[in-house]
């Protein structure tokens, strides 16, 4: 059973509904019928529903207001999506929605009694009342969270992927009303490639509703659309909002499912104006609406706004609205015109000829609610005194069920503001208009203050030709812009005080006039401060109906002009955008080494190291992870292991100045490094902070090969490139990280494993510790570096990435008889910790200098320059603040262990921090590295580590913990 569409008007030309396609939907559990083309708000109003929503704070009843999504009176949810705007929600078969922000349904909303306390809830109340006593704040917060916010989130909703697209054009025209269409056509006729967007589902803008009563005006629309359709270079996108402007005309276009990132060479905004409400008592009652809303109801959806109405006029538009209403069968009881002289033009005469009573110099003083307080029952009119204040002693009451107001307009200038336009308030039209525009930004139509159709068309054409000229598509003359004439389209102060104070300025936030007066009295006399204290314009409609009146109020309170008062900042988006449309793909760059597939087949557990995936360890059957890791470490200590270190940075440094360059980049000395030898390399930044380390091998007189840490390599290489430019050195740098694969064959049996696979003489005399050799491994050209990061005999084997897999499998095959095991990052971290080798970024932080890290040995003596050297000279004069030391727990210790980064304390004082820890080591006791105050750095010093509420006792210990004489790696 559907309620009849009792307020539907007979069919009319241009309506957006399709009467052949009825649509059934549900609202608040009740079934209704509308037509294809209806939005929720229009379909409900057509069915005679007046209570469409509840306001945010006082839960006041709300109905149609702008019908343009400029207010948020009608916000609904369907169980999956929330905060859907009724003004722009097309009804579809099966739509089943409820109003947001009610407790127990729209009609019986228990929170509607909040309003009874409104006198005790002045602006700023929450700021002042709920922060003391502090201990009660969590309680306040919980209570407020229950009533704050709008809509409910469905936590079980599935993630929804939304498409993104990219587009370009020469000129983006925003707004497909008369000005925008004329502009787009003029530019496209010159050959400019134009995209024209409009947030409405159909083009035409105000031609569809505001000019609908005028048969001559109406004929413009098909002519413009025909012309637009005939131009190959003009693309029209309706149902698409230009949501925000970003640098270099990078504009976010949103339609109902897709975000398009459009790059334009020029921008032309013909976005029109937003009709502004008058402020009077109960100006939010269902039945009070903007003139444009009434016209949209009648002309777009063929819905009668009300049966008997009073029109509040502040401009000529109100008279056109009154005539439209009368033509639709509404009894227009009268027009209250704020202007003492009323309407002087032709419209005024037509209204009088139609028998409509006009009360010039009058305002609506209040709207009188009906018995259920959810509709208009009458209006109280008052004459205005010479100061524009209502004279309530001369009030007249008229029965009606609708109050339609047309008192003024504010430009929809958000995109222009974002694009760098400056606006100024122009007295003769009582409106902000663009005063200065960036070179490739244009504005046309109502936003420029043109309200007459012929002016809008002419202004649009001028702007389109100007844009074409800028884009080099037009070299003829551009006609001059039209000149605005006639009475101002906006009233300077349609705002009226009332003793009962329910005269709303911001319908989103239930802010009334007195709130602004109070805020001003408390000193918030700047527009940006006033906004934040009152929260005006901070609701879901972002002040589309409130900001202009707030500026007018503040200007008057301060006794200053509108221009002196200014406006608040306009940020994206023009209309709200679902988060789903903004969310990007879950994407981040990922690098795999060329041996990755082998690790995966071996069942490796991977971890992220910067952008790289590295094996953390290789699980073995049901063995616990810690045991598997420890077994890997033991294999290296006692036999042989193989680790993929292909993630290390690898740089080729060559050229006549290569050695000199490396000496400037790193702290060490390389000029005397003999070919075939390698050296540890430590890099600092200009402030002397340790930033990276690695090895530098000399492969020839002017040819070096350098390694860098996995996560620091990219940044270090960038700095090397820049210094090479600044120093103007003859050096060629190649980041060969991806070109070379690398693996470390380590353990006492590594030489035996490698011996059968290489032509290089591996004897200790021919290939000693810290030597580098080029030769072949498994038939593949290779670079071998003899180093001891894990503290055993070992060979770093670097081969071209394409051969990595065959070399790796050859080594594993050759090692099978020796019990070779692949080992992962965890085992390597343990092995190097036992040797006291630091990991940059783990055992150092963003303030660590080499002296603190016991790296003074790595600073070359008698060097003229290296990056960070001059700063170290200063650092060295000062006492050390901390030192990196080894810490150890007693052998057999089985108690809890600290975590990395936990604090070392001395009573209440923090004296250090753990940087690395291993509970189980091949040296038989828990060990770690830590920063401590220098006076605690002596081995044997007892330290206390705060961990999970306990104090754990350890002692400073000498490093290396393992093989202190470094005999095993030699």
């Amino acid at each position: 059973m559907h309620l009849p569409m009792s307020k539907r008007l007979p069919p009319r030309e241009g309506e957006w509904i399709d009467r052949n396609r009825p649509v059934e939907f549900r609202f608040e559990g009740v079934a209704y019928q509308g037509f294809e083309g209806d939005v929720l708000t229009s379909a409900l109003w057509a069915s005679g529903v007046r209570l469409l929503g509840r306001s945010f704070k006082y839960h006041r009843p709300r109905g149609v207001y702008s019908l343009a999504n400029h207010d948020v009176n009608v916000m609904v949810e369907d169980g999956t999506r929330t905060n859907l705007r009724g003004d722009v929600l097309p009804i579809r078969s099966g739509l089943d929605v409820r109003a947001v922000n009610t407790a127990g349904g729209l009609a019986r909303d228990r929170l509607r009694f909040t309003e009874w306390f409104s006198a005790f809830l002045p602006v700023g109340f929450y700021y002042k009342a709920f922060h003391t006593p502090r201990r009660l704040f969590p309680f306040y917060e919980r209570q407020m969270r229950k009533v704050a916010g709008l809509g409910r989130i469905n936590r079980t909703a599935r993630a929804e992927a939304t498409p993104k697209s990219y587009a370009t054009c020469e000129l983006l025209v925003v707004g497909a009303g008369p000005a925008g269409l004329a502009a787009a056509i003029a530019a496209a006729e010159c050959g400019v490639q134009v995209v024209l967007v409009d947030e409405q589902p159909h083009p035409g803008g105000s031609l569809n509703w505001q000019h609908a009563h005028d048969a001559a005006a109406r004929r413009h629309l098909p002519a413009l659309l025909d012309r637009a359709g005939s131009l190959d270079t003009l693309e029209v996108r309706c149902g698409t909002q230009a949501g925000g402007w970003y640098a270099d005309h990078w504009i976010a276009l949103f339609d109902d499912r897709r975000l398009t990132k459009l790059r334009a060479r020029a921008l032309l905004v013909a976005g029109g104006c937003v009709e502004q409400p008058a402020v009077f008592h109960n100006n939010d009652l269902p039945g009070v609406m903007l003139g444009s809303a009434a016209q949209r109801l009648m002309h777009l959806y063929a819905v009668k706004p009300c049966d008997r109405c009073v029109v509040l006029a502040g401009n000529s538009d109100a008279y056109a609205v009154a005539l439209d209403l009368r033509e639709a069968g509404v009894e227009v009881v009268g027009i209250a015109d704020l202007r003492p002289g009323g309407e002087t033009g032709e419209l005024g005469q037509r209204v009088i000829a139609a028998g409509i009573k006009v009360s010039a110099g009058h305002t609506v003083f209040e709207a009188v609610p009906g018995p259920g307080k959810t509709n208009v029952a009458a209006v109280v009119l008052c004459p205005l005194d010479v100061d524009g204040k209502p004279r309530s002693d001369a009030a007249v009451r008229l029965d009606c069920d609708g109050i339609v107001m047309s008192v003024g307009w504010a430009p929809a200038g958000g995109l222009l503001y974002q694009a760098g336009a400056r606006f100024t308030y122009v007295g003769p039209i009582e409106q902000f208009v663009p005063r200065s525009l960036p070179e490739s930004v244009f504005a046309a139509g109502r936003v420029n203050g043109f309200f007459k159709l012929e002016d809008q068309l002419a202004d649009g054409r001028c702007a389109g030709l100007e844009a074409a000229k800028l884009l080099g598509r037009h070299d003829g003359p551009v006609p001059p812009r039209p000149v605005q004439t006639g009475p101002p389209p906006s009233h300077p102060y349609p705002i009226f005080d009332h003793p009962k104070k329910k005269n709303f300025v911001d319908l989103d936030e239930d802010l009334h006039l007195a709130d602004f007066v109070h805020a001003h009295q408390e000193g918030y006399d700047n527009i940006e401060l006033l906004k934040r204290y009152t929260t005006v314009g901070m609701g879901p409609s972002q002040g589309k109906l409130a900001n202009m009146n707030a500026v007018r109020i503040l200007a008057r309170l301060n006794g200053r002009s509108i221009n002196e008062t200014g406006t608040t900042t306009s940020r994206p988006f023009h209309q709200p955008v679902p988060m789903a449309q903004l969310a990007g793909r879950r994407f981040h760059p990922l690098r795999r080494t060329p041996v990755h597939d082998w690790h995966a087949r071996a069942g490796a557990v991977f971890l992220y190291a910067g952008p790289w995936l590295r094996p953390e360890y290789y699980p073995v059957g049901a063995t616990a992870p810690d045991d598997a890791i420890f077994d890997e470490a033991l294999a290296v200590r006692n036999g042989v292991g193989l680790i993929d270190i292909g993630t290390l940075g690898k740089f080729e440094v060559s050229g006549a100045d290569a050695a000199a360059f490396l000496e400037r980049i790193y702290t060490g000395k390389f000029a005397q490094l003999r070919t075939g030898r390698l050296s540890y390399a430590l890099a600092l930044d200009e402030s002397g902070i340790v930033i990276d380390d690695g090895l530098v091998a000399r492969l020839g007189e002017d040819r070096f090969y350098a390694t860098a840490t996995t996560t620091g390599a990219a940044a270090l290489f960038q700095e090397m490139q820049r210094w090479a430019i600044v120093w103007r050195m003859d050096v060629v740098l190649v980041n060969a990280t991806g070109h070379w694969a690398a693996m470390n064959l380590a353990g006492p049996r590594s030489r035996e494993v490698l011996a059968g696979l290489t032509d290089i003489d591996l004897s200790a005399s021919a290939f000693p510790y810290l030597a580098a050799r080029e030769g072949t491994v498994a038939g593949v050209p290779a670079r071998l570096l003899r180093v001891g990061f894990v503290g055993e005999l070992g060979y770093e084997i670097h081969v071209p990435a394409g051969y990595a897999m065959s070399v790796w499998t050859a080594l594993m095959e050759a090692g099978r008889g020796h019990g070779i095991r692949p080992f992962g990052v965890e085992a390597q971290r343990l092995l190097r910790l036992e040797k006291g080798h630091i990991i940059i970024g783990q055992d150092t932080d963003a303030l660590t200098n080499p002296y603190e890290a016991n790296m003074a040995w790595a600073l070359g003596k008698n060097k003229t320059f290296f990056v960070g050297q001059r700063s170290l000279a200063i650092v060295k004069k000062r006492p050390l603040e901390r030192r990196l030391v080894g810490i150890a727990f007693p052998p057999g210790y089985a108690g809890p262990l600290p975590l990395e980064c936990q604090l070392i304390v001395d009573g209440d004082e923090i004296v250090g921090r753990v940087t690395s820890i291993a509970g189980r080591s091949t040296v038989g006791r828990p060990i770690g590295l830590a920063f401590v105050r220098p006076d605690l750095a002596e081995p044997g010093t007892r330290v206390e580590i705060r961990s999970a509420g306990r104090l754990l006792r350890a002692a400073v210990a000498p490093v290396p913990f393992y093989d202190p004489k470094n005999e095993r790696q030699q």
């Binding site: 990078w250 960038q718 490139q721 430019i725 600044v726 980041n735 001059r870 700063s871």
Partner: protein
């Protein structure tokens, strides 16, 4: 998103670039006072105006110099460090 003109690769989206700080001359470490050296290392000039800045085009590994007006965020011109345009 901004468009930045790389002297080697032409106009590319800002996403591809890394800011490298202002172009500054290092004082002679051999003669500079500790105070002046600390000023060079730690202090940056943030006043409004046209800045000479290092920018790095990440995909191609190109360092270049940009003259940028930080009041309007406009790139006035870009060039390689060794090849400043004739003024």
């Amino acid at each position: 998103m901004k468009i930045i003109h790389c002297p080697i690769n032409g106009p590319r989206p800002a996403q591809e670039f890394v800011y490298g700080g202002e172009v500054r001359d290092m004082p002679d470490p051999g003669t500079v006072t500790d105070e002046d050296w600390a000023d060079y290392v730690f202090n940056r000039r943030g006043e409004p105006g046209v800045k000479r800045e290092w920018w790095y085009h990440l995909p191609s590994g190109t360092w270049f110099v940009a003259e940028r007006d930080n009041r309007t965020d406009q790139f006035l011109r870009t060039y390689l460090f060794d090849a400043p345009p004739d003024v």
